[in-house]
C-alpha cells in the first residue's frame, strides 16, 4: 500500500486510516458528521493525492482528448476545466475525469485513483497521434480546500484573486510560497472551494500553511467518509459505485457531458441509444419510511419485484434524510415515482427525487 506525502501527518492528527485504491488514506478524523458540517458551513481540507494526473502535450493533444472523452473539449478556453467521461467500446464508462486546458497544446487530466493504470493504458492505446503523455500521478499531491469560507480563508497565501476564479476555471501562481501551483475552482462537495495541485515535496509545507492561514476560520482536516456523504448529497456520481464499465453515460444522467457534436469512442452506439431511448436511468431517491439504503441493495416495485439496484446510499448529514442513487426502469425514473428499497428483507418505501438532495 502506498502512502501519500501526507499520510504520516494524518496519522499524527489521529485520523482513522484505511486502504483506498491502493493508498493509505484518512477516512475520518473527529467524525463524519462533524467534518461534513465543517465543509457545508466553513472550510475543510481533504488530502486526495491518490487521484491520478496525466499531462498531454502536443499539437494533436486536443484530437486525442476529443477521441477518448465524451464532452466537447474543443469548446474550452485556456484555464478552463471540464467534467467529462471516457466511454468504452461496449456501452459503458472507462472512467470519469476532469480535463484542464492549459493552452492549445497542453492539457492536464485528473482521473480516479482506482483507474489510473486502466486509464493510462486506454488513452495510450488510442494515441497514434504522437501526443506526448506523462503520468504525473506519483509526483503530484492534490489538496481540496472546500467550503463557503475557502476563498477568504486562503487568500492570505496567494497573489491570485481567489474569489474571482470562476467555477470550473483555474489559475496558476504562487501559493504558500510555492511557485506554479494549479489553483482550480473545482471540487466534489457542492460547497465551493479549490483544488490545489502541488508537487509531493511541497505538500507538507502547503498543508501546514493552509492550516495556519485557515485557523481563524476554524479550518479542519476532512476524511474520505465525509467526502462521500458530501458528494452524495449533491448527486455526484462515484466511479465504481454509480458508474462503471457497464453503465451507459446516458443512463447515468451524464448526457450533459456526452456531446454528439463530435466523434468519439463508441459515439455511434451511444447516439443510437439516445435515439432509441434508454431503458433504465440513474435516479436520486429519499426513503419515506425508516431505514438507510446501501450500495447493492435491491430496488423493488410495490409488488416486491426486483426492478433495479442501489448504487450509493447514506444518511444525509445535512438533511437527516436517508438518501441514495440507483438504477430504475425509465418509467419509474421521474420525480415523485414510488419505489421500494429492500433493506434486510423488508421493503422500505422511497420516492424518486431530483438531486441535489441538499441546497445551500
Amino acid at each position: 500500500m502506498k502512502d501519500t506525502a501526507l499520510s504520516k501527518i494524518h496519522e499524527s492528527l489521529g485520523a482513522k486510516m484505511v486502504p483506498f485504491a491502493g493508498y493509505n488514506m484518512p477516512v475520518q478524523y473527529e467524525g463524519v458528521k462533524a467534518e461534513h458540517e465543517v465543509v457545508r458551513t466553513g472550510v475543510g481540507v481533504f488530502d486526495v493525492s491518490h487521484m491520478g494526473e496525466f499531462m498531454l502535450k502536443g499539437e494533436r493533444a486536443l484530437d486525442l482528448i476529443q477521441l477518448v472523452s465524451s464532452n466537447d473539449a474543443s469548446k474550452m478556453v485556456d484555464n478552463q476545466a471540464q467534467y467529462s467521461c471516457m466511454p468504452n467500446n461496449d456501452g459503458g464508462i472507462v472512467d470519469d475525469l476532469i480535463i484542464y486546458k492549459k493552452n492549445d497544446n497542453e492539457y492536464f487530466l485528473v482521473v480516479n485513483a482506482s483507474n489510473i493504470e486502466k486509464d493510462w493504458n486506454w488513452i495510450s492505446s488510442h494515441n497514434d497521434m504522437g501526443v506526448e503523455m506523462t503520468n504525473l500521478s506519483e509526483e503530484y499531491s492534490l489538496l481540496a480546500v472546500q467550503g463557503p469560507k475557502a476563498a477568504e480563508a486562503m487568500q492570505s497565501l496567494t497573489h491570485l484573486d481567489l474569489a474571482n476564479i470562476k467555477y470550473y476555471t483555474f489559475d496558476e501562481g504562487t501559493f504558500a510560497g510555492i511557485d506554479n501551483v494549479i489553483v482550480s475552482a473545482t471540487g466534489y462537495t457542492g460547497s465551493g472551494g479549490f483544488e490545489l495541485y502541488i508537487k509531493n515535496e511541497d505538500a507538507e509545507k502547503v498543508w501546514n500553511a493552509i492550516f495556519e492561514a485557515g485557523a481563524d476560520w476554524g479550518i479542519k482536516p476532512i476524511g474520505l467518509a465525509a467526502r462521500d456523504t458530501l458528494r452524495l448529497e449533491m448527486g455526484y456520481c462515484l466511479y465504481g459505485n454509480d458508474i462503471n464499465d457497464s453503465t451507459s453515460p446516458l443512463e447515468a444522467g451524464l448526457g450533459w457531458v456526452t456531446k454528439f457534436t463530435k466523434k468519439f469512442i463508441n459515439s455511434e452506439a451511444l447516439a443510437a441509444q439516445k435515439e432509441a431511448g434508454i431503458t433504465r436511468k440513474l435516479v436520486g431517491f429519499e426513503l419515506v419510511e425508516r431505514g438507510i439504503p446501501r450500495h447493492d441493495y435491491p430496488i423493488v416495485d410495490a409488488d416486491g419485484n426486483e426492478i433495479g439496484i442501489v448504487t450509493s446510499g447514506t444518511m444525509s448529514p445535512s438533511t437527516g434524510k436517508a438518501i441514495g442513487l440507483g438504477y430504475v426502469p425509465k418509467d419509474l425514473s421521474s420525480p415523485g415515482s414510488e419505489i421500494f428499497i429492500q433493506v434486510r428483507n423488508k421493503n422500505i418505501k422511497a420516492v424518486v427525487v431530483k438531486p441535489p438532495f441538499y441546497k445551500a
Binding site: V27, Q28, G31, V32, K33, A225, D228, T229, R290, G291, I292, R294, T314, M315, P317, A322, R344
Partner: protein, 125 residues
C-alpha cells in the same frame, strides 16, 4: 478505550450487565468508535425469545451497517426508547444512556461463557 471492569463482554463488541435474571446489553466504546457516527438503530425483536448469537437488530452508522447479536439466550423485554430519536447517545455514552435492550436471561450458566473486562481489553489491544 473505556472498558468498565464490572461488565461482561463478547467478541462481537457487546457489553452485558447482569442484575438478577435481567441482562442489559449495549455495544462497547470500542465498537461505537469503530462504527463512527451512529444514525439509526433498528430493533424489532421486543417480546421475542432468541438464542445466543442470534441477530436481535442492526445498527447503522453513516458509512456502515452492522448486525447486533444476542450475547446470551433470552427474551427481549425492553428496548431503549431514547436511541430511536437520539441514536448518537450510543457514541457519547455507550455504557449508560446508550444501552440497547434488556433481556430476561433463559440460562444463567451462559454468563460464565462471556468475556471479562480484562479478556476484552486484550482482544481490542
Amino acid at each position: 478505550m473505556n472498558v468498565p471492569a464490572d461488565l461482561k463482554y463478547t467478541k462481537d463488541h457487546e457489553w452485558i450487565k447482569v442484575e438478577g435474571d435481567v441482562a442489559t446489553i449495549g455495544i462497547t466504546d470500542f465498537a461505537q468508535s469503530e462504527l463512527g457516527d451512529i444514525v439509526y438503530v433498528e430493533i424489532e425483536t421486543e417480546g421475542e425469545t432468541l438464542d445466543a448469537e442470534e441477530v436481535f437488530g442492526s445498527i447503522e452508522a453513516v458509512k456502515t451497517v452492522s448486525d447486533l447479536f444476542m450475547p446470551i439466550a433470552g427474551e427481549v423485554t425492553q428496548i431503549n426508547e431514547e436511541i430511536e430519536s437520539n441514536p448518537e447517545v450510543i457514541n457519547s455514552d455507550a455504557y449508560n444512556a446508550g444501552w440497547l435492550i434488556k433481556v430476561k436471561i433463559s440460562d444463567a450458566s451462559q454468563i460464565e461463557g462471556l468475556m471479562s473486562a480484562e479478556a476484552y481489553q486484550e482482544l481490542i489491544g
